[in-house]
């Protein structure tokens, strides 16, 4: 029996995402169809999910719960007052599935740089000026596209039964055809 047949046999609701499960899960949580997400993929937090459960262990009966609302309470690498956009920028700068990091930039460095320079544009400019790390050519452009993938990737709306963008594209922000292709057609 395939896994989907098994799910149907036991009446478990499911959906195959048009593209990535990550974005689809984020959308389901946003619609209120699910209350939380069980996964092993930290990208879910970057997609804006609020309640994520990692390392579900059905033998020990344990799970690690990460809530966005708790971000401000971290003592090391405080995220107090950080916007979703800054958190997303930190994740992208430190390297994600869609874009490799600038060599030598991990999570901690990305956090430090964003704390100091606030926006990714400023961070990249400062790194170039400093000249210690080699920032790839057109890195900022790649960064912007990556950000759009996290924001606007195409997902399925099970209530309206149609394809939508994870976040509605604001009227002022027309996407180029290149960008459209990147977030899924």
């Amino acid at each position: 029996m395939t896994s989907l047949q098994a799910l149907r046999a036991e009446d478990v609701p499911y959906v195959v995402a048009p593209y990535e499960a990550d974005a689809q899960l984020a959308y389901l949580e946003r619609l209120g169809i699910v209350d939380g997400i069980i996964t092993e993929d930290s990208d879910l937090l970057v997609f804006g999910c609020k309640n994520v459960y990692f390392k579900l262990n059905d033998v020990e009966g344990t799970v690690t719960s990460i809530s966005r609302d708790d971000f401000g309470k971290m003592t090391e690498c405080s995220l107090r007052g950080w916007t979703d956009a800054q958190f997303r920028a930190m994740a992208i700068l430190s390297g994600c599935d869609y874009l490799q990091s600038i060599p030598g930039v991990g999570l901690k460095t990305a956090w430090t740089l964003l704390r100091k320079y606030r926006t990714p544009e400023n961070v990249i400019r400062a790194l170039r000026l400093e000249g210690k790390k080699s920032v790839p050519e057109r890195y900022l452009e790649a960064f912007m596209i990556t950000e759009k993938v996290f924001l606007y990737q195409r997902v399925y709306d099970p209530l309206e039964e149609k394809l939508v963008n994870l976040t509605e594209i604001p009227p002022g922000e027309a996407l180029s055809q290149d960008h459209e292709a990147f977030i899924g057609e």
Binding site: T2, S3, L4, Q5, A6, L7, R8, E10, D11, V12, P13, Y14, V15, V16, A17, P18, Y19, E20, A21, Q24, L25, L28, I33, V34, I38, L56, D58, D97, Y98, L99, Q100, I145, T146, V149, Q153, P158, L159, A181, F182, I183, G184
Partner: protein, 86 residues
């Protein structure tokens, strides 16, 4: 399914989400994976040629690419329309 039953036992209603098509933005990652799969396949064939079948099997399982088409075929075989809301 064991996990699904466990969650249900504790009053949690699971809603499963699967990956669909390749996103062009992930091309880099996909290429890396394709490369890794090719390497695993070569390794598996080599082991199989030497008669080390159980070891070869391990590598063969690592070179399988679950394509969106496979997922689509699975959806097509469903006997009744699945309710996405459950």
């Amino acid at each position: 399914m064991k996990r699904v039953r466990l969650l249900r036992h504790y009053g949690i209603h699971p809603y499963m989400v699967f990956d669909g098509g390749h996103l062009p933005a992930k091309r880099g990652t996909e290429e890396e994976r394709r490369h890794r799969r090719a390497e695993n396949l070569a390794c598996a064939n080599e082991l199989a040629a030497k008669g080390k079948h159980s070891q070869a099997r391990e590598y063969y399982s690592k070179c399988v690419d679950v394509t969106p088409e496979m997922a689509f075929q699975l959806i097509k075989v469903r006997s009744q329309p699945a309710s996405f809301l459950g």
